[in-house]
């Protein structure tokens, strides 16, 4: 029990249990309406937090609701905010560091998922933060800031749900599609952190972009490779992969793959679906997302130049 926060009733509470999920009356699950090599629309904006050195907001397009109207079937979209604090001097007690010390944190808001999340960091959040750090560490030119540190904080305001309600009610906690939503979240974290770092003006070798690809299977159909999967759209996800990609150098700074890649080969060898194909497709997704990031950076830079030109005469005149 956390005495520093307001706690709920000591007896504990349960999330609402919907009658329709118990009676077996299931709603038709959503289907993917876009093409296999098409990613969702991305909304990206920098400079949301004036008190931070750099900040950005990232949102994925909400898929259209073309199925029955129900509280259990509302589709969610990924919503992330990121703030960058620094580079700033390390505290006096810290040992000497020849380059910029990077620290990353990923935190889910309590209302980010169907189950209320706690304020205390859990292992999933630490996992995401570690992956994010790997993706960003090679991108920053750390030698330019000795003895300093930078904090990158990502808050997940809304995550993607990858389990249908009936699976949840049946106690099927680690069901067939468990944890695939984390892949899209990591990819979003990488992109939004990259935008916020650029907004803070920290030197990078290139902007790093996140991309996801997955091997999915619909019932009675061969496995299929898709870009930017939305886990609730697919009956079964066999494997998924996230990359952090630098386009101008053609480098991958981070890879995270999950699932059974070999199980997806169709036996005849007509469609190559190995790990390499999965990574290639994830890189494709990153390349597609890069356009949005570059456009957002250009917009914010133009706005900055305009405001600094407006201020310029102030500095030069003397009284």
């Amino acid at each position: 029990m956390d005495r520093r926060r307001v706690n709920g009733p000591p007896g504990g509470t349960a999330p609402p249990c919907y009658a329709s999920t118990l009676s077996g009356k299931t709603h038709p699950s959503p289907k993917r309406t876009r093409g296999a090599n098409e990613i969702r629309k991305i909304f990206l904006k920098t400079g949301l937090t004036p008190s931070a050195s750099g900040s950005a907001y990232f949102e994925l397009e909400t898929p259209p609701t073309n199925y029955s109207n129900s509280l259990t079937n509302r589709t969610s979209a990924l919503k992330l905010t990121c703030t960058v604090h620094g580079p700033r001097p390390l505290p006096r007690s810290a040992p000497f560091s020849p380059q910029l010390l990077l620290s990353t944190r990923v935190k889910f808001a309590p209302f980010a998922a169907r189950q209320r999340r706690s304020y205390i960091p859990d292992s999933g959040e630490r996992d995401l933060a570690a992956h994010l750090e790997t993706a960003l560490r090679g991108v920053l030119i750390g030698e330019r800031w000795p003895k300093s540190g930078v904090d990158i904080i990502v808050t997940v305001l809304e995550g993607e749900e990858d389990r249908p309600w009936d699976a949840l009610a049946a106690g099927n906690q680690n069901g067939r599609t468990g944890g695939w939503g984390m892949m899209s979240i990591l990819s979003g974290c990488i992109t939004v952190a990259s935008a916020a770092i650029t907004d803070a003006g920290i030197d990078c070798v290139d902007v790093v972009i996140g991309g996801v690809a997955a091997i999915v299977r619909q019932p009675a159909a061969p496995p299929q490779l898709v870009l930017d999967p939305c886990p609730s759209d697919h009956e079964e996800v066999i494997a998924a992969c996230v990359v952090g990609y630098l386009q101008s150098r053609d480098e991958v700074t981070e890879t995270w793959a999950k699932g059974n890649v070999t199980a997806s080969s169709d036996g005849k060898g007509t469609t190559p679906m190995g790990f390499n194909a999965l990574v290639d497709q994830a890189v494709e997704a990153a390349v597609a997302a890069r356009r949005v990031l570059v456009e957002a950076i250009r917009e914010s830079t133009e706005a900055k130049i305009q405001s600094s030109q407006a201020k310029l005469p102030d500095k030069l005149t003397s009284v």
């Binding site: 944190r105 309590p110 749900e161 201020k311 009284v319």
Partner: protein, 427 residues
């Protein structure tokens, strides 16, 4: 010649310090302390953000090598600083210069002392919460999510069951003023005892460099959470009636709260033994995205906007399954009823720098810069019909009864604006 060189050195020293570590600590005797404002320039007037301040740099004693007259030469052409540099070098002087400028006193943000920031609000953007709002007041922005969960009465340690007859009696009893008040007090006592409202405020989202994550919530975050909890319980904003989940033995047709009385009268022949089986618990989480002063007012606005947006699904007790079930039909869900709209207004009292000669200014809805300069803070919460719900005050005794009356008037005025915005959406 050596004197001129000395000035340049000092000037570049100050520039260098400003660039390196901001905000500059004004330690007594440091070169920055010797900077004095010569007033804002006549030609530009108090245009916020563009106001220029001429700074005179007095020479440290060791630079005065005999000839005092030389320094007069420099005073005729003092070096100037842009306004934001001056604000960081000497914050109290900067704010005083703004407030004592010719004509009307104006704050660095361009507002008059008692002008507050108009919030904007976007409600219902979060999918997984029952009610949500994203609000922005100037550069302070936050997200509030309200989520209902179910507390079964079996899980409450010493629960006193409340029967429907008793409920009926309370409803039909003569509604004298004392009865209504007693009832409201009992309501909020029951709500507090059961812990049905769980507000939490989170600042460790990177919203400001002073509240970074890692470690427990900061003192400010803890204080704000508790203040909001107290406000929820003392303002009669919500009623425990709307949070009860009933069980009625002829459970063939689930009964909505609004139709309850008709149904009760229809079934008067039968012995109705309806009882409360569960309660809705509202988890109210407020996350700040950006912080630039006055988090309490912004949090309250986010809270009110999210509660206005909250729809709880229709819930009933299923005796066969011994479970509380909810309907997933959005048409059956019910809007949360708010009985009042408590609107806060926070003020700070700025006492000026040493040259202000004991003057004081009351600044409404401070931003982060002003908050750092004010010791005395007042928060007034007003409800319906100009009822003062709470007054919180700390840090000094400058605000007297007459000022308080004026501040309450301002808070009432702000409440009118907020209520319009919350009820009808943005204009």
């Amino acid at each position: 010649m050596s004197d001129r060189k000395g000035l340049q050195m000092e000037f570049s020293y100050v520039r260098c310090r400003v660039a390196e570590t901001l905000p500059l600590e004004l330690a007594p005797g440091s070169p920055a302390k010797r900077l004095r404002a010569a007033g804002n320039s006549q030609s530009f007037g108090p245009i916020p953000g563009r106001t220029k301040f001429a700074l005179q740099i007095q020479h440290p004693p060791f630079l005065h090598n005999g000839n005092q007259n030389n320094s007069i030469h420099h005073r005729t052409t003092p070096p100037t600083f842009p306004a934001h540099t001056f604000a960081k070098l000497a914050p109290p002087t900067y704010l005083t210069a703004h407030l004592t400028s010719k004509g009307v006193p104006i704050r660095p943000s361009g507002r008059s002392p008692t002008q507050f920031r108009t919030p904007t609000c976007h409600a219902g953007s979060l999918t997984h919460a029952h009610g949500s709002a994203v609000v922005r007041c100037g550069d302070t922005a936050g997200v509030c999510g309200v989520r209902g969960e179910i507390l079964r009465v079996e899980d409450v340690a010493d629960y006193r069951p409340k029967m429907a007859e008793e409920e009926e009696r309370v409803d039909t009893e003569m509604h004298s003023f004392q009865n209504v008040r007693r009832e409201k007090r009992e309501d909020s006592e029951e709500m507090a005892r059961l812990g049905l409202l769980v507000p939490n405020l989170e600042l460790a989202t990177g919203c400001s460099p002073t509240h970074l994550p890692g470690g427990p919530p900061s003192t400010l975050a803890q204080t704000l959470s508790q203040r909001i909890l107290t406000l929820l319980h003392t303002s009669n904003l919500l009623s425990v009636h709307d949070l009860r989940i009933w069980f009625r033995p002829p459970a063939s047709a689930p009964i909505c709260r609004g139709q309850e009385h008709e149904v009760m009268r229809e079934e008067e022949e039968e012995i109705v033994k309806a009882e409360v089986k569960a309660f809705w618990v509202l988890y109210i989480d407020i996350l700040f995205i950006s912080l630039d002063g006055n988090p309490f007012d912004a949090a309250c606005f986010a809270l009110l906007a999210a509660l206005c947006n909250t729809r709880l699904p229709h819930a009933w007790y299923d005796a066969d399954r011994e479970l509380v079930l909810c309907s997933d039909d959005p048409a059956e869900s019910k809007q949360l009823h708010l009985y009042d709209m408590p609107v806060p207004l926070s003020f700070g009292v700025f006492e000026g720098d040493e040259e202000a000669k004991g003057k004081k200014w009351i600044l409404a809805d401070m931003d982060g810069f002003e908050e750092g300069l004010c010791r005395e803070n007042v928060t007034i919460v007003v409800g319906e019909e100009k009822r003062v719900v709470r007054i919180e005050k700390d840090g000094g005794g400058n605000v007297g009864g007459r000022d308080m009356r004026r501040l309450v008037e301002l808070a009432v005025q702000r409440r009118r604006e907020w209520v319009l915005m919350l009820r009808d959406g943005p204009p």
